[in-house]
Symmetry: C2
Subunit: 213 residues, 2 copies
């Protein structure tokens, strides 16, 4: 066995361990699971990030392809949006490990900015940007809006999907509707509630007077 098949079975082992121990699994543990020792892992993947990257790629390529396909489905726009949302949620629902890798790729040394979206999610954001840019007539601000929305929608679905996966408050279908409704301006269309703005929620006393932060 030269290179490729070996790599595969190492990735399989890593997969098992990460599924068991979470994304913080140690290289020692992975090597042990594979029945070998650390240096071999390092020979194959360079460093830990290399391993994680390979794993991520393997797992997310399917999801990414599915989302991309959904974005190009010949449907009414609302239906297409729902289809994309459903595709994503179905993907993370079916394989929580994928989800883990998607959202917790490398707890390394990020400077803190530009890392809110993990690499895999950034690819999804780019797909959405491209789709919006190609399919929707947004006038002069086209580019800016498409990029901002691509990121924004991805982040929205990430956070909402994370919550949904954690606490399962409703069926997938309803969740898709809830998010599509948000994207569809239902926040703008809904009426005011009569008991609108109460004086204060009685929390800390008068901290609200500091808009400088």
């Amino acid at each position: 066995m030269s290179a490729e098949p070996r790599r595969e079975q190492l990735l399989n082992a890593a997969d098992r361990v990460i599924q068991r121990d979470g994304p913080g699994a140690s290289m020692n543990a992975i090597a042990a699971e594979a029945g070998i020792t650390k240096p071999i892992l390092y020979r194959h993947f360079g460093d830990r990030n290399g391993l994680i990257r390979a794993l991520t790629e393997r797992h997310t390529s399917g999801l990414l392809a599915a989302v991309r396909a959904a974005l190009n489905e010949p449907l009414e726009r609302r239906d297409r949006v729902e289809h994309v949302l459903d595709t994503y949620l179905a993907g993370i629902e079916a394989r929580p490990q994928v989800y883990r890798l998607l959202t917790h790729p490398e707890p390394g040394d990020p400077t803190g900015v530009g890392h809110a979206l993990a690499p895999a999610l950034r690819q999804i954001a780019e797909e959405i940007t491209r789709a919006v840019d190609n399919q929707v007539d947004l006038g002069a601000d086209r580019e800016l809006l498409a990029e901002a929305w691509g990121r924004g929608i991805t982040g929205m679905v990430l956070a909402a999907g994370d919550w949904w996966l954690e606490s399962r408050p409703c069926s997938r279908t309803r969740m898709v509707q809830a998010l599509a409704d948000l994207l569809w301006g239902r926040l703008a269309a809904a009426g005011d509630l009569p008991t609108a703005v109460l004086p204060a929620p009685a929390a800390e006393p008068a901290t609200g007077a500091d808009p400088a932060v």
Copy 2:
């Protein structure tokens, strides 16, 4: 100096180091900056998470209060939304350190689910949920929608704000407009583009036929 003032100056030191070295700063470095050694830090904060939590709290309480106040401003709904968005973006723009702590609190051992939003952001999400629930008439699905939207909007602003902060594609005002437009259903209202759906983006060959992932 009994406890409180000491704590304060330790936090100040930690602040300086994290501002300089990023959120991955070591306890050794922080202790050195404070002119003392590790065990003292541990006596005061228990463990690293304790320190980070204290720091986070100190920094985010202002932002959180500001967002909360903005959510209760007596304005038209669209104006209120813009005001909240602007408040958040202004906050992270003014103090990048706050932003770092906000989004990179503890690269610890999370199991991977339920951690897409850092604690501080979860508080913001709860504020939004409460505000939506109190102010908007959403019918029977009220609770579900408010919660899903709270998380979703927070994630959206996180991801979009992260991108904006990183690459500064436009003024803050325009960014606020772009996000408010998204929330306002402009995606639904815009027209189709003539050259809508091309056959295929000519990437990998025919991976789109696998909807199982």
